[in-house]
Symmetry: C2
Subunit: 108 residues, 2 copies
């Protein structure tokens, strides 16, 4: 596991994390991590985030049961964004959709 000290968390101590389905390549969601959420994700192999609305650590799937098993985690060239490739055990979106990006702006 690589050092994460060089990552650039923002002024709220957060870094955006894109989640992509490791099997299909579909982009599933964007959420935010603080350092502790990232540490838990890397050590447990399941996605943890920081909920900005609830102001608390959030084990994805803790209520829905739909966790995301991590396959790989990548940082971008600026070290201020993460990409998680993982395998969700159920629909990622709270609406029941497979992805949170189900509403196209360019469809008409």
């Amino acid at each position: 596991m690589r050092q994460i000290e060089s990552l650039k968390f923002n002024e709220q101590g957060l870094i955006p994390a894109i989640v992509q389905d490791a099997n299909t390549g579909e982009v599933l969601m964007l959420a935010y991590m603080n350092e502790e959420a990232l540490r838990r994700t890397l050590s447990s192999g399941e996605a943890w985030f920081y909920s900005r609305s609830r102001k608390t650590l959030w084990h994805k799937g803790e209520t829905s049961g739909n966790i995301i098993k991590i396959v790989s985690v990548w940082q971008d060239c600026d070290q201020d964004t993460l990409l998680l490739q993982g395998k969700p055990t159920g629909p990622v979106c709270h609406t029941g959709h497979e992805t949170c990006f189900f509403d196209q702006l360019t469809d008409r």
Copy 2:
């Protein structure tokens, strides 16, 4: 083209935009848009962003020549993140990589 008034821009007037290669599914980068960048993207069919460091609108590729032709734009369920599916005309990353996510944190 759909109304964009319902989108939730953050306190800086920005919304994160994930860029995905429409052909390969590869996640290429994350950048930020203000409302004008989104309007220009939707009207021109090429990706525009807002540069937080330079504090200016940024036509992706204006210096490198590597523009991103837009195929579709999606909003997420919270209306606070965008997903752009597009076709880059060259490497998206300023390092010359195809994607900004070339550095794996979980590779050891």
